[in-house]
Symmetry: D3
Subunit: 296 residues, 6 copies
């Protein structure tokens, strides 16, 4: 699906170093690559899934959402990088001058001012970050910890910047990641009877301290679990019900995916030869598309 | 979507070392994690996507398929590992004896006889394997090479085993990966006019030399490109048309995803405490599901 | 202190592959290097330690014990490796023949049949395994998870072998690591009021299923927390008291360290030139020692 | 033991980038993690320790000291990081602004402005840095080289900063590391008769060129080897005697550990939720401590 | 041979951050270490080399040149680093102050302001970057892609700096690397008949857009393939002939190596104790050299 | 130069596991990649090379030789791997069956039964193994240690196998690496006056204990230092003269390179599609070669 979960404002100013910091939320040990891949592999590897279906369905539902999270962090990074060097075709004017003083040169050499699966130090994400041990209680405990750790990172990255693109994106993640914290806590409670939701929030500061989260919470985004499928994973609703441990609002399971907004168009950066192909004649394919009945 | 692209037979015998070898196709440099993540990031990072939509749509369509590929390799590994140790609850009988002589102990310690994103040497997949340089011609050239390299790996892994689960899965990947080779070759041709499809097959041996591929080819799986969306990515069909360079069959673009088959149920492995939770009362949730109108 | 926490029997037979598997408990993600270093750095990095002294003291006490744990795993590995090749001075008889078929060649090339900080796949331990986030609740939650994960690994490694050295050592770790699980659960309870101890045991199988643990439990090793200092860290006793969640026995804090047993003497392996120095005259230093009043 | 080997002044100004540079001395290839862990594993792995006791005891004595070295580098880093961001509870004022321009974001995301086992580029320490080959002559030669390499790094890091905390700490390490250089040189001499001490100093600049080392040398810290045990490791004194190769002062072995000074209290950093737990009532535990006779 | 392929001007100003960026071209995934080592291993591993000699000879000829490329990138880095700190013998004046704000501290700690095999983020080069799959068509396709990717990196690094040393060196690499692109394209063409040279240039911008390349092209450096041997590898000329795909100039194979220029003398940096050895009496060896008839 | 330093016998039997072990001498921490690259970078980075020319020339001469060492280890590996699977074109007979039980699957997936820059555990060589600190005394001390460590590894790998190819190659390396040990010891002696050569041999066992070394020593290969250049590096002879510390034979410097023997032809392995290109018509190029006067 070619849509983003939330609308990102254009940055006030491009900022390579803010983009470099956001990478932690994408490819860091506690970044969205880790949550996406951990839940994905846990879903592939789930033993006894008939007997324990509600737990399987919760993990699958959240895995389904995480794909949108690597997408939205990537887009925030891309927006912050776009326009951060001098546009043009002549390399001899050193259009990338100044970049050697920035923190992450990979954004300008290995990619055309866009995101890569690495952390805020430019270290690439590793499959070692996936935990899929196969004992359900332990896996859920891990996921609860992972989401709390991820939340801590988001809070700290939020505090590093005043840029609205970054803040909007991080706040969205705080709300949805916050929901994942609750979901795994409730799953553990359902399995063991221990009152794990009372450990929320960890760290102690509430999401409500982050002003940009308000509109998302007003739309109920902190209490709606999406299954990302019309038919599968419905029994997630057996775990995801009752009330939210922080504000008592009613938890709700939604069969399907949120609608989303169009993905932002990224401007060309000719000084990076990106995308290049300047002689390519797009009219040609428009005609063909019309003939073939293809929607562009 | 809780479905696999192809039906995997049960292995003749569990085989930890065959499973260890299959990991190369999952988490190796040329494994499905690399293709999935490379095309995913290229789609996030695409500049000038309106101008060059057919190329964007081809990359997105293939990215959409790769998710199913990490899934199916994982399931083949899981099937080969399931039952490979003595089932039971008593650790003192050393139910895992013999495993210290197997090649990949991670399958038995870090997971409960299931897949992890690592290669055939147990080295974890790294984000460094993602290439997303941002120049379209270079990215397509990379993708063409990556798919040829992946094909070479699949061919060699196929030759290592006579197990039907492994061979069925690898043959499926040969056919679909073979289609991706053609797709990137055609995209390069469309962009540059150079006859890249004539380099196919690389390595020279045809997929037809692998008997299990036949039924897939008979079903047209080597010539149908799926967009994995009803509405988006249709213009992939502008590139994906004409005839197949090897057998001249007509290329076809399908708007949407293949139907798939149910995901295999993985048996419990109590000696690994997987999934554990043996006191959990599944009747309880069945009643609730009925009340809530939830499909199990 | 030149003493081991527990007496290790001599292996029935040297076994390089069992030794290779034990490495997971030393240098794996959930091995003793990770627990030792995590608690060590958390103790260095503790903010507000006056205000929160009992928590600091619990972490320091456990950190103090972990050093003995890397020691005992190393010694078990060393015992299993000692004598595993043909002893002698003549390299031309290929005294290490057969080793090229073993899983971990580092034991025979990078060391003289002894332990190194690596895991069961020969991958070296990394500082990335240290978690020291600085929020107390999150750090304790991490530690509780880490110890549960470590416990799962110990259980699985135990099941791989019938060798008494390996089983004795792993059982000791199960008991003492089990105590650490309880300690971090109680610390979280003390901080938050949530009864985390009810999640114990995770995975669900009790330590009592491992026969070699019995004698350790009979000696109370599952209920005595040592501070490893006469004076410091006493307030660990504020958290560590009451009864054990599994058997209701009384928890006890001991100011100081357990007495321990002498470290095993490792035989020489001349085919590895270890230790070499065969011309060294030890009588010479014995005389000097006598003169200088030095205890040998 | 909850004490530091030397008293560290408070920095003139917090400095994240100086702290980042100091990390080389903690988690770099030649940092204190490498010396600590190398000597620790060499002591575990020592073959023929009865026959070669003085060498074993020298290695153990130095291993004992290195723990204090990772501690003191960590505390210097912590002091330089403490107070480097705006203190407070409100994330919306961007209390960490400016940090995205600093070199090591891990200090602010993965930890609460404190040390981690990584080097000056933020690369984590690896067990690959441990050398424990098992041939005594080769291990001693390695240790002599390692300490000379470490000395070179300390000298260069010293030159990078004028901050008194950093310089005091590095100077202390130069003096004690300098003693380790001499100790391994003397051990090699004792074993082989080659007068390796004449290679000292390597690099050629004397510690006396670093003004802050003077007071330490006046207290004899360059000539006193501690055994860190009253009873064990005494025969280190068989090797450690005679005179210092640089100033001819008498070498002295001390049975036991230096007294040390209290560990600095680290202030809270609420903007990082460190340590959090602000509702925790410390009076409660003070009363309990009194009742239980526990020293706080 | 103690000679460089091209004369490098002295930098206008030393620049540690420009030097840090140049490291990408040395030790990055697409740097000269990768091309050198890939072609070197492909030459060792070539199967059927009699039957396919012209291909073997092309690979060997290019491998021979790459050694000079790691050399010249290293020298450019060294020149940019030389003199970047305060020269002198007194560490107490903090001669390296300011360095903690630079991007790559390894240049100042692990080396004496000189090059190391790492990339622009300070990550070390890995053997994983070597591709030597053994199927000739696939290896050539890889090499063609690798050289195009390397070219993209060079173009972007060029754009980051106005320093003449950096630009001269990168321009030289653009020309010679451009020749390697053509050589692998022609080899593929010779093998398969597909006119791969028409994909040149990738990315689309011509080398002619970089002013410093002109003098090299005027000297024919974009059309002369050297075999780096008088006798071996001559059959490279079977592939390397005809005309250049961009400017139609005649391709030429040269049996042997270009003459080169003397390697720049690197000044001493006493504040880094480099090279030290200040008491060493060079007159002594000059006399001996004369006696032994040795050329200095 | 297309020649090997020594003639390697054909293995008695192909042996993938022996080949896997030999990789330690190629890509291990103490393998030939490490010596080659360390001396190469030290030569690039040498400061004050006019003043200290004999040292520079020794390092360059040895660097020159190390290239031949990575070559010969690679060829030994290749010979041991060649023919280790069933030759043929039909993948369906599982020609690689049995390989999933071998230790290093990379030899069969990432390459066509040939060498890669990795160690005996399949871990890739890293640039982190390069030491180039820039202080001459420290660099020489490092090199002396590195060569002793490398010697220890060679001795142990020798002991693992009775295969004549492996033993011949390792014995050659023992002799030539032994010469490098002496060379760096003598360089240190020349610089400092300390008689480091008396530490030889480390480990204590003499090369003479390895029967295959005898013929090499009889040919003087343990006492001839080659400069690998007619004109450059001659002043290495100022350091390399006098007598050998072990047998008193006269040291000799040779201006130039040893003659060498032809590189072995590697047979094709069609089941790995290596080299493929079976339709390629070699007659065609032979005719062209004749016309162009090109030596094949």
């Amino acid at each position: 699906m070619d849509r983003l979960p939330v609308d990102l404002p254009t940055p006030n100013n491009p900022s390579p170093n803010d983009a470099a910091a956001l990478q932690e939320l994408l490819g860091g040990k506690f970044g969205e690559m880790s949550t996406l891949m951990t839940y994905t592999y846990q879903s592939f590897n789930f033993r006894g899934k008939k007997r324990l279906k509600p737990f399987y369905d919760v993990i699958c539902s959240i895995a389904g959402e995480e794909y949108g999270h690597i997408e939205i962090v990537s887009h925030a990074i891309n927006l912050l990088l776009t326009g951060s060097t001098k546009r043009g075709h002549d390399p001899s004017v050193a259009p990338l001058s100044g970049i050697t003083d920035m923190r992450n040169t990979r954004h300008f050499i290995a990619s055309a001012q866009t995101a890569l699966p690495m952390d805020s130090m430019g270290q690439f994400w590793s499959g070692e970050n996936v935990f899929s041990g196969g004992n359900l209680k332990l896996d859920l405990l891990h996921n609860f910890f992972l989401e709390c750790g991820a939340r801590s990172n988001k809070m700290r990255v939020y505090e590093m910047t005043t840029d609205p693109t970054a803040r909007e994106m991080v706040s969205y993640l705080l709300v949805r990641g916050g929901l994942h914290v609750v979901a795994y806590a409730k799953a553990l409670e359902y399995l063991t009877g221990v009152n794990v939701t009372k450990l929320i929030p960890t760290p102690e500061l509430s999401n409500k301290a982050f002003p940009e989260t308000r509109k998302f919470e007003e739309n109920g985004l902190h209490r709606k679990l999406y299954t990302f499928s019309q038919d599968d994973y419905q029994s997630a609703g057996i775990i995801w019900n009752g009330t939210h441990p922080e504000d008592g609002s009613p938890l709700e399971v939604v069969f399907g995916a949120p609608e989303g907004v169009p993905v932002p168009e990224l401007e060309e950066e000719p000084q990076l030869n990106s995308p290049g192909a300047e002689d390519f004649d797009m009219d040609m394919y428009k005609d063909i598309a019309k003939k073939l009945g293809i929607k562009l």
